[in-house]
């Protein structure tokens, strides 16, 4: 009895992980082709781009900000790097330049948010429009096909680990370390909890916020390159609505939209895997393609619902405890 209760408590605490397992289990019951190692590796590879994007978004959300422009930033990065590679620039120059473009996006956002004190929602809404327009302008609204060398990176392996997964791992560990092991990370949480108090306590709020938006831009650029190396082409709708998926992944992983609460490992990673597992599973079981968004929407809704109910019951338990 005691063990059972402990298990239930553990399951409630790690509800998102349990839900991920539940999703994996139900798809494996529906199709024998789902829960095989090659497909699981596939899910990892497919989710790497979204996960990296969501990691950057987590930083921003932790400071109670939001970045709607990541999808557009991704698009511009894709277009710029594609153009550079096609014009004959070697990859070793194109990649750092693409990363710089992503960080520039973050810097522009940070400038308006920190120096001019416009709320992040408006700033990033504006850069969302401007970025998409800029990308379309540079690409002349045509799709850009990338040379083979780019695709080879996407399918190459290092020590048996596929390149996209390896990049995800590096970003994940670095981000986790920065957030949980450094002063910067602790200050990010402090700002998210209460930025006025953080300022009074002597935390350099402005500098931290600039750092956070730079990280988000950088992650958008890395995520984009990873996706590019798999797709091999930049279409005009590239990265469209990715900002919403990134936010969804972070929130599914337990990050609060009001700042100060959440983590990258396991939170955001599990969130991204969950979204990708659902989409992959629907393909594997041969579901009607028209149903993909319907099912994805319903499952995310269910998960967020379970998560909020969990918070609610935890709060109630706390209240009765203090009352008694």
């Amino acid at each position: 009895m005691k063990i059972l209760r402990a298990i239930v408590r553990l399951m409630i605490r790690h509800a998102t992980v349990v839900l991920l397992l539940a999703v994996l289990l139900s798809f494996s019951l529906l199709s024998p082709k789902f829960l095989v190692s090659s497909n699981l590796v596939n899910i990892l590879i497919q989710s790497s781009s979204l996960a990296i994007l969501a990691i950057g978004m987590t930083f921003v959300l932790l400071t109670a900000g939001i970045d709607l422009s990541v999808g557009s930033a991704m698009f511009v990065v894709g277009v710029v790097s594609g153009k550079l590679v096609i014009s004959g620039l070697s990859l070793w120059w194109a990649i750092p330049l693409a990363l710089a473009v992503g960080m520039l996006f973050g810097l522009v956002n940070a400038f308006f948010i920190v120096r001019l004190r416009i709320i992040p929602f408006i700033v990033t809404l504006a850069t969302f429009y401007a970025g998409r327009g800029l990308g379309l302008l540079i690409s002349e609204t045509r799709a850009i096909n990338l040379p083979e060398s780019f695709l080879q990176i996407g399918s190459s392996r290092l020590l048996g680990i596929p390149m996209p997964v390896l990049i995800l791992l590096v970003v994940l560990l670095l981000a986790h370390f920065v957030l949980s092991g450094t002063q910067f990370g602790r200050q990010v949480y402090a700002i998210g909890h209460n930025s006025d108090k953080a300022r009074k306590a002597g935390i350099p709020v402005d500098r931290i916020l600039i750092g956070v938006y730079l990280i988000c831009g950088l992650c958008a650029a890395i995520g984009r390159l990873v996706a590019l190396a798999q797709l091999g082409a930049v279409s005009p709708t590239f990265g469209y609505q990715n900002e919403f998926m990134a936010i969804a992944a972070a929130v599914l992983g337990g990050t609060s939209l009001f700042g100060g609460k959440g983590n990258i490992l396991p939170g955001t990673l599990v969130g991204a895997l969950l979204i990708q597992a659902i989409q992959n599973g629907l393909v594997v079981i041969n579901a009607d393609p028209y149903l993909y968004p319907v099912v994805t929407g319903m499952v995310i809704f269910l998960i967020v619902m379970i998560d909020s109910l969990r918070h609610k019951s935890a709060q109630k338990a706390l209240r009765t405890k203090t009352a008694a």
């Binding site: 709607l68 308006f112 001019l116 004190r117 416009i118 709320i119 929602f121 408006i122 700033v123 809404l125 504006a126 850069t127 969302f128 429009y129 401007a130 970025g131 998409r132 327009g133 800029l134 990308g135 379309l136 302008l137 609204t141 919403f244 936010i247 969804a248 929130v251 609060s256 939209l257 009607d288 028209y290 149903l291 993909y292 968004p293 319907v294 994805t296 929407g297 319903m298 995310i300 809704f301 967020v304 619902m305 909020s308 109910l309 918070h311 609610k312």
Partner: protein
Amino acid sequence: MKSKTDSEALKHNPEAGSSNKLIGNLLRNPENTIVYVCLFYYLVMAFIAPGFFTVNNSWNILFNLMPLMIVAVGQTFVMLGAGIDLSVTSVVAMASIIGGYLLSDMTALVEPVWLRMVMGLGAMVLAGGLIGFLNGLAVTRLGMPAFMVTLTTMILFSGTAIWLTRSQNLYLLPENFVNLTYSSLLFVPYPLLIGLIVISAAWFLLNKTLFGEWLLASGMNSKTAYLSGVPVSKTLVKAYVLSGCCAAVASILYTARLETGSPVMGQHILLDVIGAVVIGGTSLFGGVGKIHWTVVGAVFMTLLDNSLNLLGLSYFLIMIVKGLVILLAALLNLMQVRKLT
């Protein structure tokens, strides 16, 4: 010092004093900045954009404005309650295909056309209200974050609309319905009439009813509102229902104008809607905002789109400029507010 000069001015000429003060207040009031930005922009465009300052284009602006404004007014209620409704685009799509199905001559469900019209339009608004109700319940009863709830209902219902119709449009809508855009009552075109009714109803609800007061209180601080006896949950659910209904009414206008029920109707208006509300000055954090601010915000967004199109800018340049102008408007608004505080 200032009050002294004012009172002296009053002594000499009370009438001029009060009117001067009124104009001064109007000019200095930060909430009017966006109005001046709009006027200034309108004047500049009247000179430089070919065909902007014509009767035809003015009607065009008005017809483009109405649906956007109606959705934004609904969104204002939700934002006043410290929420956000991303699902409005899916409401527009769902209402459009439901209306298209019920109204179309292809299905011809009910014989007299007027009955079909009543049924179809009723069902559209009902569908919007139901989706809003679902959002509201999830936010208040289950304590889910509004952003996530409405994001998932957006994905869910726009997916459903496309799934139900297999991305086919529904044609052959009855004449009376299609003519809605072009016919008028007492020289007022129906879209304008509907827009005016929605604004006045929204203004009345927000300023003259207990619901309005409760909504502002809940948005300002839901905990203190709850402790003071405000039925916070019920109030917020009503706000979401209103937002859904408004989006459905906008869908009626869109569907009538395009003469088709389309499952991707309104797919791109989301950020325009939110932009209109926020540029108008309504706070994303709840409790602060007015209906006429949103109307001005919607006017601004519509002017921007229309004029940039007339200037012959390409689609992507329009997007860049739109982004920059939104930033500029937010900045001007902010500078005014800061000067005063």
